[in-house]
Assembly symmetry: C2
Homo-oligomer: 201 residues x 2
């Protein structure tokens, strides 16, 4: 089937571009990994560059995290942040090939890379910022820039993801995921709640 072939090539392209970079991945190898003849690749995508572009477009549209926000209202602030951190890390992990390509090729394809980044981060930053704004309105959180707060929070986890989950081998992890999430959320919670006079301890 035509669709199957296209998808198989796109998938193989995603993995090989992520592993070896745009220049390091050869059309021959991509075709081989997709289980088709190299010529078939060119019949579908004309050039390697167009294959790359189509692949980026195909995989940068993500299922959104919109279902997240409503559920948060029933949780405590701390639970909510842990939930968001978990979803964010999960999403990064699902899209780790794209993330890697984005980081590698950002200079070669700035607009495309930025689009991926926008898809990956922009929405969750907005969601988180609006959540902060709401809690600030209710007097639960102190005043701070919701956008910068969201970036600070996600930045901690993005950085953790980069150095740990994306890093090559398992043995270099400095801590397990749960305790990292716990500590990071703990710091952030205490860093943003509004302190009342009768604070215990």
């Amino acid at each position: 089937m035509a669709k199957d072939t296209r998808e198989k090539i796109l998938e193989a392209g995603l993995r090989l571009f992520s592993e070896k970079g745009y220049l390091g991945a050869t059309t021959k190898e991509i075709a081989q990994k997709a289980g088709v003849a190299e010529l078939t690749l060119f019949r579908h995508f004309t050039t390697k560059e167009k294959l790359f572009e189509e692949m980026m477009s195909a995989y940068s549209f993500l299922p959104a995290l919109k279902g997240l926000l409503p559920g948060l209202k029933e949780m405590s602030y701390e639970e909510a942040l842990a939930e968001i951190a978990g979803s964010f890390l999960k999403r990064l992990n699902e899209r780790r090939h794209l993330v890697r390509i984005m980081q590698r090729e950002i200079h070669l394809y700035p607009s495309k890379a930025r689009q991926v980044y926008q898809n990956l981060m922009g929405e969750i930053v907005k969601t988180l910022a609006s959540y902060f704004r709401e809690l600030q309105g209710k007097g639960v959180l102190r005043e701070f820039s919701p956008e910068l707060g969201a970036r600070a929070f996600l930045g901690m986890f993005f950085s953790y993801f980069n150095t740990q989950e994306l890093a090559v081998s398992e043995k270099y992890r400095f801590a397990d995921r749960a305790s990292v999430v716990g500590e990071f959320v703990g710091i952030f919670v205490k860093g943003t709640v509004l302190i009342k006079r009768k604070q215990e301890i």
Copy 2:
């Protein structure tokens, strides 16, 4: 002079590897940028790969940030964190070519890339963690893992650096450096200090 030539080639290699990646940077172009004949490059470094390795070694030994710790004791906690964040960002910026190479080629040269990362992050994590430990001992900070705390703190800024200062154009910055440092430090300070009963506001 022989040393001049070597250094010129190493410098050109650093810049071009960073811009175009290991495969994208050609020996011809590196030699041209260094202002020498391509053959001279090979006479000094034998192969492209050895040039890459020597370049990584040459630039991964950094002047340390050890002078930082003593000065911190005369500052408030908040001032100290702002100082550390500033130094860290400055250092990342000075080494931005290396940082970029490290992120790009981590799969091709895992051990070298990890070494660069270690040089870049390891020491400052330790310094910061020991600073936290000291303040915990004095009862200024609450109990939390000093190492994870240090990684959380630096992670926020590393992530900011990645998306802003390393990003291609200026117009995509979402905020100026000073306000980012201010907000991030503010969150982190309130997230880690020990709260006493007589807290104002």
